[in-house]
């Protein structure tokens, strides 16, 4: 499908533009462009350049990370249910952020949560790598599930022992995922990790195509399977770890995005990568618009809640659809 990638790009561009206009204060395209490029510090200009633009760019970067990593992991593990959270990296990031909130580092330093979350993600990835060093794909999944379990238990423990209701509330909000109040500072922290992470993940494309034949045949066709596994893990740690560190856990995008595009690229794992990355970015940007415009019972929805709410039924439908096509 030659038109797939270009049309996803156009859709993403349109959605991103819409995202800079929508919200509590609605702007017209003319207003937004005039204020953004005039350099005047009026209200519309501030909203666009200081609030909405960083948020849009972050949404795209995070969605791209989730979608691409999901596509790589599904191809690598040859499992349509694989997703970035499987390797324990997201829960490691969550634990890091919870530690920062629980021990009050956030009060002293506003960026403490993302920085601690980054450390958590990398530590989790390192432990998974050590545990799965000699084993194959199964060892990688088991190590990821184990790390994920331990991190989630510790997060629960922190909630259990929270010093005051406010800390518990802050932890809960962080766990639900949010893009609100994210600034250029967050972007400056995230992009230097996300961009190389995406590059590493994209480099596995050809190997993933061959891995559709299984580890042994891939190896016989000259694919360094162990190195591909390492690239996927490090790429996921860099991109998804950072994404989770800056915006909390955003579920289902990593699972959904690859499945949406897979039938359109003939199910070839390598060819699904770029479209899945764009689809992920599109999904998160759309979800972010929705969280700003859909208000339930007076409170805005958190983006993680929204993606899970929309994602689950969609995914069920997809599973039925895919089964009827392939069985």
């Amino acid at each position: 499908m030659r038109w797939l990638t270009p049309s996803l790009m156009v859709l993403l561009l349109l959605t991103a533009t819409a995202s800079t206009l929508a919200g509590t204060v609605w702007l017209s395209p003319h207003q937004a462009f005039a204020s953004a490029f005039s350099g005047r510090a009026d209200l519309a200009g501030l909203i666009v350049t200081e609030i909405r633009l960083p948020r849009v760019v972050l949404a795209i970067a995070i969605g791209a990370s989730l979608g691409l990593s999901g596509a790589v992991l599904q191809g690598l593990l040859r499992n349509p249910l694989a997703e970035p959270g499987l390797l324990g990296i997201s829960s490691g990031a969550s634990l890091g952020a919870v530690v920062a909130i629980y021990f009050g580092f956030v009060a002293a330093l506003p960026l403490a949560a993302p920085v601690f979350a980054l450390v958590g993600a990398f530590v989790a990835a390192g432990i998974v790598l050590l545990l799965a060093r000699t084993g194959g794909t199964l060892a990688l999944i088991l190590a990821g599930v184990a790390i994920s379990g331990v991190s989630t238990a510790l997060v629960m423990l922190a909630l259990n022992l929270a010093p005051n209701p406010y800390a518990a509330y802050e932890i809960m909000t962080w766990l639900m995922g949010s893009l609100s109040d994210r600034s250029w500072d967050h972007l400056a922290l995230a992009l230097p990790f996300i961009v190389p992470g995406l590059a590493l993940l994209l480099s596995t494309g050809r190997a993933l195509d061959t891995l559709a034949l299984g580890d042994v045949q891939a190896e016989s066709l000259g694919v360094p399977v162990a190195r591909t596994r390492l690239l996927a893990l490090v790429g996921t740690a860099l991109s998804v770890g950072t994404a989770t560190a800056t915006a909390g856990a955003i579920g289902f995008v990593g699972l959904m995005a690859p499945h949406v595009v897979r039938p359109l690229v003939g199910y070839q794992p390598g060819r699904a990568l770029v479209p899945a990355m764009l689809a992920g970015a599109l999904l998160v940007t759309l979800a972010d618009i929705a969280t700003r415009t859909v208000v339930l019972a007076g409170a805005p929805l958190n983006i993680g809640v929204f993606t899970s709410l929309i994602g689950t039924p969609f995914f069920l439908w997809l599973v039925m659809h895919v089964r009827s096509r392939t069985a």
Partner: protein
């Protein structure tokens, strides 16, 4: 002409010798059948021969060059390997699965270059799967999938073709077809190594024989001279009679009472 040699190859698994100092030569233009009882080390020998398994002692050479020194992509271009029960995980079309056999030749990014299309057409035709090209490869029958996988192995025109149990689970016609196709490849100059359980197929369609039991080679050589009732009896621990007639050779396993 590619000659593959195993030179005193030993493979250990958890301290146990799976292959014990085996030496064997596999000639070009010929199909060599590797036979032996379950767990004899056939698959291990094929893995070592394919360069997928580094022997703990000894070496494997392809035209005199140590196979472990070859660059992995160069080796992948020159030899094709099909494991037992090879299958595909996604509903990828047959045509694209066959094209995956060209992976070592392809550039790192971008679509399939046009110059490879004739090779893919040839492989599809030689395995009689051209009419399946648009079908998803995970929805084929066992016989169809086996042919697609052979086409996948043929497409890169390898000098060395190593196939583990290509006839397992196939009905007689498909099994004979598979052996004929491998033989045709050998006649074109390829070195073909096949691990096989079906002795009738092995004796009638292969040129050479390597018999292995408990990790040790018991006999090797042309089928006509190497495949004796005495060898086969010792190999499988069951008395064997060979029945030769104008249609070929049949192996008959005798229960102990009937033994001559």
């Amino acid at each position: 002409m590619s000659v593959l040699k195993l030179d005193r190859v030993t493979v250990l698994r958890r301290g146990r010798k799976v292959l014990d100092g085996n030496s064997a030569t596999f000639q070009a233009h010929r199909v060599t059948a590797v036979i032996g009882p379950n767990g004899a080390g056939k698959s291990t020998m094929l893995n070592a021969a394919a360069g997928l398994l580094q022997p703990d002692a000894g070496r494997v050479t392809l035209d005199g060059a140590d196979i472990s020194r070859l660059h992995r992509r160069e080796l992948a271009r020159r030899r094709a390997y099909l494991p037992q029960r090879a299958d595909v995980d996604w509903p990828i079309t047959v045509e694209r699965v066959v094209a995956l056999g060209l992976a070592p030749q392809l550039p790192a990014f971008g679509p399939l270059p046009q110059r490879f299309l004739p090779a893919i057409e040839g492989a599809l035709a030689s395995c009689d799967v051209g009419h399946l090209r648009e079908r998803p490869a995970n929805a084929l029958s066992g016989g169809e999938l086996a042919r697609v996988m052979l086409a996948r192995a043929f497409v890169s025109a390898p000098e060395l073709l190593i196939v583990d149990e290509p006839t397992a689970g196939l009905d007689p016609r498909h099994a004979i077809d598979a052996m004929r196709r491998l033989r045709a490849r050998a006649r074109e100059g390829c070195t073909v190594i096949v691990a096989i359980h079906d002795l009738d197929l092995a004796l009638n369609h292969a040129d050479d024989l390597v018999a292995i039991r408990d990790g040790a080679i018991m006999a090797a050589g042309p089928i006509e001279s190497a495949a004796t009732p005495a060898l086969l009896s010792a190999l499988y621990g069951v008395p064997v009679r060979l029945v030769r007639d104008s249609d070929g050779t049949t192996v008959r396993f005798l229960s102990a009472a009937e033994a001559p």
